[in-house]
């Protein structure tokens, strides 16, 4: 859905649902999700329909995913780190410490 204007500088690798994908150090996890196909971050709690990052500034919460084990992380506010594990999130948030 989106593409980088330039080749990545400072390339790192993150794992989206187990798949290794290239990313740029310090960009947001949501930005990386928007370069995958199909684009989505979580499913809605009632209809289970897919949701993708919508506002990119922390107000819509449709970019929630499980990042390094922490559920309901706002991926648009989370910078990537090499080796980060991102799991798309299904349904209602689970409360996990």
């Amino acid at each position: 859905m989106f593409r980088k204007l330039q080749s990545l500088d400072e390339e790192v690798t993150v794992y989206v649902d187990g798949v290794a994908v290239p990313a740029e150090a310090n960009e947001s996890v949501a930005a990386v999700l928007l370069r995958q196909s199909p684009v989505w971050a979580r499913t809605a709690p009632v209809s289970c329909s897919r949701r993708a990052p919508y506002c990119m500034m922390g107000v819509c919460f449709d970019c929630l995913a499980t990042v390094d084990g922490i559920a309901s992380t706002q991926t648009c506010l989370t910078p990537v780190r090499d080796g980060m594990l991102v799991l798309r999130q299904k349904g209602r948030r689970s409360v996990r410490p």
Binding site: Q6, P38, M57, V59, P79, P97
Partner: protein, 466 residues
């Protein structure tokens, strides 16, 4: 006081950074906390790293101008905590923040909320489909990640940001399938009355705006006076339907749609704190009730920047400076006479920076469907509650947003009403022939930003847990 800073500033955008610089100049101990990982706010997001790339050329001068402000902020000696969320505030004032998985509480002599704005919620059928995003989101992706859509996009909206992003996208080599201008043509009459003031006060900005509009109309399919839009698709956006005010409708293939209807102040923090709010009719939004220095009804809590009223980056800087001066005076660093003398030129510049606003507010006043969407629209994105269900509540004799929330779960999801509270108020108001300020918004409860149990557990033992 418990050894906290003289001034705690929430937000490192134009207002927060300018306030920090001025407060430091007058010898105050300043701490700035910000949700982003680098200073600049949304307008100058990622400016430090983007300044030397080709992106800076695409984003234009108003963006590059931020580099100076960021440099001065970095050199000011203010403490700075990036990647930190403020999740609760109390009179005192006291702020609870979470950073790197740890929560803590900070007592300050004064707090300045420079938390900016969010895009106005603009519900329409299908707006939750992947492929639909805000124009602001698309621009953030350009600024912070250097990325653009890899296929032609539709843009539907009003306001300077829609135009600016469209121009930036074309410069960056992106493609626009069509631009749906949603500003009602009736706005023109009202805007016309403000035209002279805007041209006298901000001739440069006015010419720039007209230039963008002309360029866009030349280069892309431009459809004006669009009254309603609908996004259609199964798992993602597939088609877009639009209807113009003169009844023309069309359905087109679309994979990406960016929408925007202006911005509104971020008021979650001041609502949570119990500050008094007013209705800003010209901007169709609530705003904290402030004195001429930006102090709220809760003493020693200030608001500056777009969080006070939408005025843009320049005005935000000046509002930040004024609040900082007042805090310095309260701390005894400036006499009454000195305060008046230093503030006068700042107020003059503020007035100049706001000269174009009455024109923009009128020209870009959103169409009615932005406030009262069709019944099938999901109003609450988080809990998936439709406009029809909200209206049912009103019909069942529950005309208060908090009752509607209790019965439908609208506003109870993770966004805590950031996307639906205005719409619920507008729907109830329309149904009952009342006004939005009369209906009001949901109550906001702590934490107003998500916090994990681990962060809470790490809160220092002495702090009061709300």
């Amino acid at each position: 006081m418990t050894g906290g800073p003289d001034l705690l500033i929430v937000g490192a955008g134009p207002a927060g950074m300018s306030a920090a610089v001025v407060a430091r100049r007058h010898g105050l101990d300043v701490l700035v906390v910000d949700e982003q990982s680098a200073p600049g706010g949304q307008i100058w997001r990622n400016i430090e790293t983007a300044a030397d790339t080709s992106r800076a050329g695409i984003l234009g001068k108003a963006y590059s101008d931020g580099a100076d402000v960021v440099r001065r902020f970095r050199a000011s000696g203010a403490g700075y905590l990036p990647g930190a969320r403020v999740w609760h505030l109390e009179p005192g004032p006291r702020a609870f923040i979470a950073q790197n998985g740890v929560a803590r509480c900070i007592d300050a002599n004064a707090i300045l909320l420079a938390t900016g704005a969010q895009e106005r919620p603009l519900p329409f059928p299908g707006w939750t489909l992947p492929g639909v995003m805000t124009v602001g989101a698309a621009q953030i992706l350009l600024k912070s990640s250097g990325q653009i859509p890899d296929e032609p996009v539709w843009i539907a909206g009003t306001g300077p940001l829609s135009l600016l992003y469209a121009i930036q996208l074309l410069k960056a080599g992106g493609r626009i399938a069509g631009f749906l201008d949603t500003a009602p043509s009736a706005n023109l009459a009202g805007a016309f009355r403000e035209l002279a003031g805007a041209f006298l006060g901000a001739p440069g900005d006015m010419l720039k705006g007209f230039g963008w509009l002309m360029a866009l109309r030349r280069q892309v399919r431009f459809i004006g006076n669009v009254k309603e839009i609908e996004a259609i698709g199964n798992e993602a956006l597939e088609r877009l339907r639009y209807i113009t005010a003169n009844g023309r409708s069309a359905t087109v293939d679309a994979r990406l749609l960016f929408v925007h209807e202006g911005i509104v102040p971020t008021i979650h923090p001041t609502l949570a704190l119990g500050c008094k709010h007013i209705w800003n009719a010209a901007q169709d939004s609530f705003a904290p009730d402030l004195d001429t220095w930006g102090e709220t009804s809760v003493s020693d809590v200030f608001v500056a920047g777009d969080g006070a009223r939408i005025g843009g980056a320049q005005a935000a800087c000046h509002l930040g400076e004024l609040a900082a001066l007042r805090v310095a005076a309260k701390a005894g660093r400036l006499s009454r006479a000195q305060l008046a003398a230093v503030a006068a030129p700042v107020r003059k510049r503020l007035k100049a920076a706001l000269a174009i606003r009455p024109f923009l507010d009128r020209l870009y006043r959103p169409r009615s469907a932005v406030f009262v969407p069709p019944e099938a629209t999901l109003v609450c994105r988080c809990e998936e509650v439709s406009a029809a269900r909200i209206l049912e509540q009103a019909a069942a004799g529950r005309p208060d947003p908090n009752q509607v929330k209790a019965f439908t779960r609208a506003g109870m999801g993770p966004c805590q009403g950031r996307q639906c509270s205005y719409t619920v108020a507008s729907l109830l108001a329309a149904k009952e022939g009342r006004t939005v300020p009369d209906v009001g918004l949901y109550r906001v409860r702590p934490p107003f930003k998500p916090i994990t149990l681990a962060e809470l557990a790490a809160l220092d033992a002495g702090a009061v847990i709300p």
